[in-house]
């Protein structure tokens, strides 16, 4: 499965797709990036007169690259179709924020798999900004279930 195919299989679309490109992927690891567009609607309200990317959106971006994209890759030989009858759900995130992310900033997400068993994918996920500074790190887990099970 190519890196482009992973992105095309994500179950998200504008305005809630937070993956531009996957740049590295293996059985244990994934890396990808996203640039936050200054015209995104949430900047109008977060915050008034001071646009900063909301933490929940950063978590979502980390989840989409670090968990869901990795899961799509790991389940490439199964009938795992998140636009069909397969399911995905976030179950845990234990995150710490270090730096704000402003409009038009490019972030890189790196995820290292802890385990993927009994449909539960748990991973150590980090987000870095363009200067390679740590923005957020945490342990995330989610349930990814192919439709035929």
């Amino acid at each position: 499965m190519t890196k482009e195919e992973i992105v095309s299989k994500l179950p998200y679309a504008d305005p809630f797709l937070f993956v531009d490109q996957i740049t590295e992927v293996s059985q244990k690891h994934i890396k990808g990036h996203y640039t936050f567009d200054e015209t995104s609607d949430f900047y109008r309200g977060h915050f008034v007169n001071f646009p900063v990317t909301p933490g929940v959106i950063l978590l979502e971006c980390m989840m989409q690259i670090g968990l869901v994209s990795l899961g799509i890759y790991l389940l490439r030989d199964k009938s795992f179709d998140l636009r069909g009858n397969s399911t995905v759900a976030m179950v845990e995130n234990e995150a710490r924020f270090y730096k704000p992310v402003f409009p038009n900033e490019k972030v890189t997400v790196v995820s290292d798999l802890e385990y993927f068993r009994f449909h539960k994918l748990k991973s150590k996920v980090k987000m870095l900004n363009a200067d390679n500074e740590l923005v957020c790190s945490g342990i995330f887990s989610g349930i990814l279930k192919p439709g035929d099970e």
Partner: protein
């Protein structure tokens, strides 16, 4: 044998109990999901902790053999005996 497994299993389960479930509620007959309100993802954590604690491997299709405390002990005993 099960006398040894039970207290150990109880200690493994405890941290995954929801706040409103008292650890004293754990008994041999407890169903992990319906009686103890443990969610399915924590069930996975319990299985992984059990694997580490007893140095056994539980296969993906054996998760449903760990629905109750009693059934879990039976599965652990079976795995230990087969080692």
């Amino acid at each position: 044998m099960s006398q040894d497994i039970y207290p150990q299993l109880k200690e493994i389960i405890k941290p995954y109990l929801p706040e409103d479930v008292n650890p004293d509620a754990i008994s041999h007959e407890s169903h992990l999901v319906t009686d103890l309100n443990i969610n399915s993802t924590h069930l996975v954590d319990i299985v992984l902790d059990v694997e580490d604690a007893f140095d056994i491997t539980i296969e993906d299709d054996e998760l449903d053999k760990m629905e109750t405390v009693k059934a879990s002990i039976a599965l652990i005993e079976q795995k230990l005996a087969a080692r």
